[in-house]
């Protein structure tokens, strides 16, 4: 019996470890290529603001799962206390809100460069890719947090910029707001800001 287990262990462990490191390397390489393309688009003077936005949407936006980001921006207790209709309305509005928030800030990165530093696997369905955005005045650490969906595809569900998680930040803001207001009021405010 011992021999069977040892045999199995020896066979499966390298395959498992290899599969793990392959995912990390895959995302590291993918982010390095995308980052390179991103900065080429951003710093190409032939592109006006709208062209930049369109090209970057094509290049980058497929990496993000904005719908999941929207769903996770509400904590469990809030998610369970609202109706399905409210939940759907919220995710639809917030998905556009966060997408625009991200795209509207792309031009702020002009004149900077980015270096993908490392990727680490947190568990079998999470990989964090660390990169820096460097400029003359310093560098900022960005962590792209990926999860693996049921089709085995990796998507970004959170971004950590200078130690601040975007998702965590919205959760804190929504929870704080809901301690004094109703969910419908939150939806109205969100729609106004979107």
């Amino acid at each position: 019996m011992k021999i069977v287990f040892s045999f199995l262990f020896t066979i499966f462990l390298p395959i498992y470890l290899n599969a793990q490191s392959a995912d990390e390397k895959l995302l590291f390489d993918k982010m390095a290529v995308i980052s390179n393309n991103f900065y080429e688009i951003l710093n190409d003077d032939k592109n006006n603001a709208q062209m930049r936005r369109d090209k970057i949407i094509k290049e980058v936006i497929h990496l993000f799962d904005f719908k999941l980001m929207a769903r996770l921006s509400l904590d469990k207790n809030i998610r369970h206390s609202i109706s399905k209709e409210q939940y759907k309305e919220f995710t639809d509005v917030f998905e556009d809100y966060i997408k625009d928030f991200y795209l509207d800030r792309i031009d702020l990165l002009k004149g900077t460069s980015s270096n993908v530093k490392e990727s680490t696997k947190n568990n079998k369905n999470r990989i964090f890719v660390k990169a820096t955005v460097d400029s003359d005045t310093g560098s900022t650490l960005i962590v792209y947090k990926f999860y693996k969906n049921k089709e085995n595809k990796w998507f970004i569900y959170d971004l950590e910029i200078a130690n601040v998680s975007i998702l965590q930040s919205y959760r804190a803001q929504f929870s704080s707001y809901l301690s004094e207001h109703s969910f419908d009021e939150l939806l109205i405010k969100l729609k106004k800001q979107a």
Binding site: M1, L8, F12, D75, N163, Q168, S169, A172
Partner: protein
């Protein structure tokens, strides 16, 4: 043999499965999001004052600090502003080395000392960060708030200071303690009148903040524009950042 196959099946599934069950899928992320100490339940007895002061600071930032900084950027070249920044950072050495030592980070205490010596001599009284640029020795700043956090002292409740912005009680008292190790503070104490002395020190600190802000690529408005609710946005960003610095 059946047991072996059953075990094998379970083992393989647990290794290669990884499928999410759609029902309650978001709950899988709860652990990592809720476990953060800055999460959503915040004890904030000064919330009304804090909200008010955040709005005052917001107005000050947009209507006073932003235009003043723009003018300052226009008049003082970037290289000079960077040198002023380096000078203040070099003067921070006693605070940083003390707190590195208090946290038993002897390697960082050593590199901070090397940085101070190199920058004070080769870097002409700290005007140039030669330690980093020539020798690649990076700063490892620590403050007393971080030291208290390192030893498990909780952040306490949030408090917003006029102009200087977001703090928590731990960092607020940590900051007062750090002053006693800061040469800029001791220089201002040489002024006999206590009120003038405090005012001068506050102005110097304010100037340091404006100079540092002038070197930033991102404006205050760019950062805060995406917030849904300004005060909890700043409060949470502050706590997340401080927690991360303490973890490191």
């Amino acid at each position: 043999m059946k047991i072996v196959f059953t075990f094998l099946l379970i083992f393989s599934l647990s290794l290669f499965g990884g499928d999410f069950v759609d029902n309650g899928f978001e709950d899988e992320f709860e652990k990592e999001l809720v476990s953060k100490p800055s999460a959503t339940e915040v004890f904030d007895p000064l919330v009304h004052y804090n909200r008010f002061m955040t709005d005052v600071n917001d107005m000050l930032m947009i209507n006073v600090v932003e235009p003043v900084t723009d003018g300052y950027r226009y008049v003082v070249p970037q290289v000079a502003r960077k040198s002023i920044y380096n000078l203040f950072e070099n003067l921070y050495y006693p605070v940083s080395v003390t707190n590195n030592l208090l946290q038993l980070k002897f390697n960082y205490s050593f590199t901070e000392t090397i940085r101070f010596l190199a920058n004070s001599t080769l870097g002409i009284l700290g005007l140039f960060d030669v330690a980093d640029e020539w020798f690649g020795i990076k700063p490892h700043k620590e403050d007393f708030g971080q030291t208290l956090g390192y030893y498990g002292v909780g952040s306490g409740f949030p408090i917003v200071m006029p102009f200087f912005g977001q703090y928590n009680i731990r960092d607020f008292f940590g900051n007062i303690t750090d002053n006693y190790f800061n040469p800029t503070y001791h220089a201002s104490l040489k002024i006999n009148d206590a009120m003038v002395s405090y005012t001068v020190y506050t102005i110097v600190r304010g100037y340091k903040e404006v100079n540092e802000y002038s070197l930033s690529d991102t404006s205050y408005e760019d950062i805060t524009k995406g917030s849904f609710d300004l005060y909890p946005f700043i409060r949470d960003a502050y706590e997340q950042n401080r927690n991360k610095l303490i973890e490191e």
